[in-house]
Amino acid sequence: MLNVYDILETIRMIQDECLDIRTITMGISLLDCIDTDIDKACGKVYEKIVRHAERLVPVGQQIEKEYGIPIINKRISVTPISMLCAVCPDGNPVKFAKALQRCADTCGVNFIGGYSALVHKGFSAGDMALIKSIPEALDVTENICSSVNIGSTKSGINMDAVKLMGQIVKESAVRTADRDCIGPAKLVVFCNAVEDNPFMAGAFHGIGEPDCEIHVGVSGPGVVRSALSKYPDASINELADIIKKTAFKITRMGQLVGARASKELGVPFGIVDLSLAPTPAIGDSVAHILEEMGLEMCGTHGTTACLAMLNDAVKKGGVMASSTVGGLSGAFIPVSEDAGMIDSAVAGVLSLEKLEAMTAVCSVGLDMIVVPGDISPETISAIIADEASIGMVNSKTTAVRLIPAINKKEGEMLEFGGLLGSGPVMSVRDKSPAKFINRGGRIPAPMQSLKN
């Protein structure tokens, strides 16, 4: 029997604490769209995506209404496009980006991810062409997201790809300088990328996945913060318990919505991603959870420890609530998308180095960080290499999404608006890592890779 307290708690979570489903993401394999004629391939891609996803948005809206829970984004992830480029070496990969944009327009989805290449051990046919086309693709499309996997625990780090990605990130920012450098905000460089991630910009549909499936990404930092605020004197292990219970409830809701969407669309249910994903809205911040735990401001000493506990408790609570947990699952710390992180960065308390330490204990990595516009491509590459090595050695996913703010200097703000928020230009070291980056080659896989 339903109890009054539970009903009111759920309504309060949704109304006052920004509880929502961040995304329903449909993963679609494009392997059967491969064609040596790029125009034919684009036609097949459009036909297949629209055939599978045309009901995604209306079904999402119907579920929103039925359960009274907002579903913020409806998204699609596809097979890494570099695989489709492999058989048409003379075609311009940007044609695929434009075809995906047409799909996004037809289906009404917020994003399509998968303009991607996996090059952690080296470049195969199609990879280089795709990577070099990324700045143009992100410039001429609006809703297409791109990612490149440059390293893994099993294979080490492809330093040639790291060098290249530094240039691509910079070029992408330059090309979109007139639109607040939005290009690199849609580009993620991964180490240990996962195949079933529903979150953008790094979503793609891995080749080990079924033809079509539905993933769900939940949100809810506001709910966790509010739950903690009721226990100002609790010890840390009591706080961990409160977080676990809250994460369980949030995840159950994600599981319910995912199962329902999968049934309505006639597509298998993939995973629930247990991430706490913040938004720039007031009351939806991961930084504010850490501050609720007792830090005067996020980014000060103790932040890494608080985040480690939060990340672990979220997983422990969520894992029992869902039949299949996957994706990135942890706490996200994108600077520009989190009101508390923005404040800490503006105040100079949160630095790039502290963020790097935080990424060792939480989901993903250096996310949505605005850096000075005159940053060198080698410095971007070196930041990518640092972050990728944390992922490689700790057998976890790490990612870098840096936005060089062209013509802006440290302390100025870059405004994206919407879910992407705004961020202050953060300082980077001015000594050059160019010689290291220009060596090329590969960082060998660590001992952790030898598990067999």
Partner: protein, 89 residues
């Protein structure tokens, strides 16, 4: 199949009448009502059976929302599954 209608806001004459009126319009059978008035704040939770409804569930949601706006109350209509999923193992 059941749904939960919650009504929260300033107390006034005839709230229960108006809300149950919308239910009967769509043949949603009222199973249970819990109601309290604390000072002048009105809070009601209504469990309704929606399996015999004559219209789409989303129409009931819309009508309740419109009624809420008219009466200056916050009215939410949600499928019971969400509460069961979140609060029971």
């Amino acid at each position: 199949m059941k749904a939960v209608v919650t009504v929260i806001g300033k107390d006034n004459v005839g709230i229960l009448h108006r809300v149950s009126g919308v239910c009967s319009e769509y043949k949603a059978n009222v199973l249970e009502v819990t109601q309290s008035v604390l000072q002048d704040m009105f809070a009601m939770i209504m469990l309704v059976d929606i399996s015999e409804m004559t219209a789409d569930f989303s129409q009931l949601v819309d009508s309740m929302e419109a009624l809420g706006k008219e009466l200056g109350l916050s009215i939410h209509t949600m499928h019971e599954d969400i509460f069961n999923a979140m609060h029971s193992i």
